[in-house]
């Protein structure tokens, strides 16, 4: 058995110092060591997107990232983003549009959607579909998810122009 490797990683704003086996995936570390079960484990080879988390501000596959690679870094999971309120509008829109059924893909879907609305605020419907093509949903047929994300893009754009108008 390989030696344990010490890491320091900030998860959802809280610093953790742990020793992990080098083969431990980041998603298994947050689920099993930290008890944060909101990130899900589906295919375990980078295809389904259910394990998506944020590492140093960008989404990554939690099953294609080792916990040791996050040493010295910052991780956000669905629990942290929910608590911080930064995806409240996305979560509301998912409920409003019935954009989930079993919920297995939802946390990964929200992580992808968060990066989309931040990085591509002018995305159109086709670009939304393309962006979330790396997150599989076996229940909804995607339509409602795309609707929900498009709603939030519009809401945020309207909010931005209101802010600019009043400035």
């Amino acid at each position: 058995m390989a030696d344990l490797y010490p890491i320091r990683v900030t998860v959802n704003g809280e610093l953790h110092q742990c020793s992990v086996s080098p083969r431990t995936h980041l998603v298994d570390f947050v689920r099993d060591t930290l008890g944060l079960k909101g990130s899900h484990l589906g295919c375990e080879h980078g295809v389904c997107g259910a394990c998506t988390v944020e590492l140093n501000g960008r989404t990554v596959r939690g099953c294609l990232t080792l916990a040791v690679q996050a040493d010295g870094g910052t991780v956000n999971t669905i629990e942290g983003l929910s608590r911080a309120g930064v995806i409240r509008d996305l979560q509301d829109a998912f409920v409003q549009r019935n954009a989930l059924q079993c919920g297995f893909c939802t946390s990964g879907m929200l992580m992808a959607a968060k990066e989309l609305v931040e990085q591509r605020p002018d995305a159109n419907r086709a670009e939304v579909r393309e962006w979330i093509s790396g997150n599989y949903c076996r229940c909804t047929g995607y339509h409602a998810i795309v609707d929900a994300i498009c709603d939030v893009l519009q809401q945020r754009k309207a909010a931005t122009s209101r802010t600019e108008a009043s400035a």
Partner: protein
């Protein structure tokens, strides 16, 4: 599945990486972005004893223009290339190809150098490097050397890198106003591995083509240049008739390997479709 157990080390210098490779040989694997390596470890297609994480080597990051070439450090991510103004200016083929690489979360982690060193015949960067006549910069025990893309891809996941060498960067000639580029791929779903993909590059003066390179991905064990069809295009004006002739020539020239769902004939047909599409699109 979970990867088998391995030891892990994160060196602070390239020299240390090279000595680790000398010491451990084939028992060691270099970890860059890990987007192919970790998937193959998870599926236990590979069980190295030691992973050497390059992630601490900041000298391998970044995009710059040096000595008349665009130099992209090995650890530069696909997302960084996709968003780079320098790349858009000097190697727009890469900007066109980047969005085809998997999905955003994978582009955020996967790297330029990792993709080239892994040498998947269906991957975008080896194809683009070859289409642009780029160069691989490798460092080993005897120092640094440059390997032309044409000599680099040797076989299925096999390259000209020596076992003790590290790919440190890839260099591309700077695009000039006479250059033209095109890229596209056909896949069942966005982000899937292409059934067939293609990069075109060359020069064009008053519509006349020169120095054309046609590189196919997903049809052979390496990215594949279609040299006969390249020669057919050079010196001619790219019009619709030429595009049709070139597509026929390409279908006759290549001998595609099948994949799990697509026959050689399907790939042969689609390669012609892509070439015709890209040549006609490039005239517009």
């Amino acid at each position: 599945m979970k990867a088998a157990a391995f030891d892990y080390v994160k060196p602070r210098s390239i020299d240390q990486v090279i000595s680790l490779l000398q010491e451990h040989g084939d028992d060691a694997r270099l970890l860059a972005g890990g987007q192919s390596l970790l998937a193959s470890l998870n599926m236990r297609l590979s069980e190295p004893r030691l992973l050497v994480d390059l992630g601490g080597l900041d000298a391998l990051r970044g995009i710059g223009v040096h000595g008349g070439m665009l130099r992209i450090g090995a650890l530069t991510t696909h997302t960084e290339i996709e968003g780079s103004a320098l790349v858009a200016q000097h190697a727009p083929l890469l900007s066109a190809a980047a969005p085809h690489i998997a999905h955003r979360a994978i582009r955020n982690a996967g790297t330029w150098g990792g993709s080239i060193a892994h040498a998947d015949a269906a991957a975008e960067w080896p194809t683009c490097l070859l289409a642009l006549g780029g160069t691989v910069v490798a460092r080993g025990p005897k120092g640094e050397r440059r390997i032309a893309a044409d000599d680099f891809f040797r076989g299925l996941y096999a390259t000209a890198l020596e076992p003790e060498e590290v790919l440190v960067a890839g260099e591309l000639p700077l695009a000039t106003p006479g250059n033209w580029f095109a890229f596209d791929e056909l896949a069942r779903r966005r982000g899937d591995y292409a059934i067939v993909g293609m990069a075109l590059a060359g020069r064009r003066h008053a519509g006349v083509l020169a120095d054309t390179r046609i590189v196919l991905m997903g049809v052979d064990s390496t990215p594949l240049r279609a040299r006969k069809t390249e020669a057919l295009l050079n010196g001619k004006v790219a019009d619709e008739a030429l595009a049709a002739t070139a597509a026929a020539s390409l279908r006759a020239e290549i001998d595609p390997l099948p994949d799990l769902t697509n026959s050689p004939e399907t790939k042969r047909h689609l390669a012609g479709v892509l070439l015709q599409r890209l040549l006609n699109g490039a005239r517009a």
